[in-house]
Symmetry: C2
Amino acid sequence: MSEARPTIHDVAARAGVSKSLVSLAMRGSPKVSERSRSLILAAAAELGYRPNAAARSLADRRSHTVGVLVLDLHNPVFAEILDGVQSEVRTHGYSTMLVTGGADPDLEQAELEKLLEFQVEGLIVIAHRLPGSVLRRIAKECPLVVVTRDDVTGPSIDTVRNDDVAGARLAVEHLVALGHRRIVHLSGGDNRVSQDRRDGYLEAMRTAGLAGQSCVIDGALTDAGGYSAAQQALDLEPRPTAMFAANDMSALGAIAAVQDRGLGVPGDVSVVGYDGMSLGALRTLSLTTVAQPLGEMGALAARRLFDRIDHPRRRSVRLRVDAALVPRGSTAPPRRSDHPRG
Amino acid sequence: MSEARPTIHDVAARAGVSKSLVSLAMRGSPKVSERSRSLILAAAAELGYRPNAAARSLADRRSHTVGVLVLDLHNPVFAEILDGVQSEVRTHGYSTMLVTGGADPDLEQAELEKLLEFQVEGLIVIAHRLPGSVLRRIAKECPLVVVTRDDVTGPSIDTVRNDDVAGARLAVEHLVALGHRRIVHLSGGDNRVSQDRRDGYLEAMRTAGLAGQSCVIDGALTDAGGYSAAQQALDLEPRPTAMFAANDMSALGAIAAVQDRGLGVPGDVSVVGYDGMSLGALRTLSLTTVAQPLGEMGALAARRLFDRIDHPRRRSVRLRVDAALVPRGSTAPPRRSDHPRG
DNA sequence: CGCGGAAAGTGGAACGTTCCAACGCTACTG
DNA sequence: CAGTAGCGTTGGAACGTTCCACTTTCCGCG
């Protein structure tokens, strides 16, 4: 129960020194004598003293905290990016404040504003649904790194992402190489990342001479989204032999939909995802995917952020990391009977 | 870039009023005249004023923030509990500060201490690996609700959990009812929850007259943990016909291991998980599981917390929610040939 | 033996809020 | 027309730190 917590004054009184010396001692300053230090530490321990971060950050004008906004904690992909962020942030001696907006722009904005009120020294946004104007305004107040997208630019906005267009091409090329022709794309909806992946799909289909076969079905970046999009895809005549889903989660949904029709993956339909979440490596799922170096992206983002905190006027940086196709068990050549004269 | 942010004084000067009035206006007090209010709001907007949460919480002696510690963000189960927490916290007008300790006791403790320094008004701990002594000490400073466990008690510690022993019994009874006899348990290791589930398993095996068949293999509450435990289980002679995994994630790992041996689930081996994460409902996985009402547990925890914040001396409460067996595609009767004379 | 300088310790002024007691008005009441 | 009630507004004192400029103490050295 939180009866009036002891403050630095209480510790000072008990140790018989001034509050200033307590402040020094608590932060491990070398200009405190051994004697005083142990006196103070003992007093603090006895009282159960705990520094007040609010007071500290007020006086110090620094919070030693960075804010992180993630799109959605249900998708393990973000946990993996977060791992990279967190470990880097910790080595810099900072804390992170983590919030989610659940893919809702208004909520996301509200959460970001809250972070700013807490005086975070920097912001990492791991995927988002925010309008560029909001992001740019926020970047005026605080260094900002956006992971996953680089469509919003500004003098103090750094970005870390893979090339989604190129990645999507890899997926399609993989399927084409296996002999697929009727390849549909289960899109992730109306957000930048999904748009890029769709564009990559369309482009690759064109390049492969399959422009006429192109077919995009709208879904969402969730298992449910993939499921319902795949259902529609399976109603097409003739039935597609392969699906490229906008991300791994929706690919899982798609696989479920295929199986619910009594069809097999990859026997009847091949499925490719995107992201490279570690769950997909499990044999049960064995999901062929376009893998991004998730942890690395997080770490990179954090490093960019600290770089900018240290050098506020550095030119903004757009980092690109490489995605790679990881072939696994959810893709295979199409059945003979499905094989159109190619 | 963050050149000296405008403060309440700057707004006051620009609007031609006192700082006190600005403070009132920013918080929407009714005792501010329409005229002043709009003057102040305009000035604030022009300057891009944003209240400083540190200063506010210092002056106010309340942070309007609760801290949440989650065991592990990689397991979507926790995201589902978190949903319940967040929505409840929001309706109370509070913010949440979210941290993880990655199942590392030292890290968990460090993160909790940090939350306390931020003067959170309450703490929700969603699964943890902390010694009781730490938790009790922390509960002295701040209301605390522990979700998932209730082994640590104290005058201001509330708990929300399901009965893991009973839940584990459900899992075993389900398998027994299907006709299984050689049922192994893939344990989740040395933590309270896993111990309870193991105890429930042992108890139910005894009740079913299968004490002699009991077999616990040590794993961990992750996909990797389930995978390796299942590998060992599959080496047993005679091979078990069913596995009860300590949680859903490890059940997925177990299924993968079975399939990697060229065996089928549920054809050769049935697998039951525990938790009821929504991912398990996907046809691809179709995981039979003991489902906890995850979101509800989160919401319940948050409500307990606010109740205690409002009434600090209320007796501590231990809530139990019911888990239910959800039969899905990962369990089936054992093969004839595997069927020992029962 | 006095002096300089380092080491150890101090009190007061910030930091940006909120709260509180008190203020000047205006408008009503008797 | 004095008294009072309320409204809108105000300055100053907190809140718990850190920082700074300063003091005291002590030591070695010329």
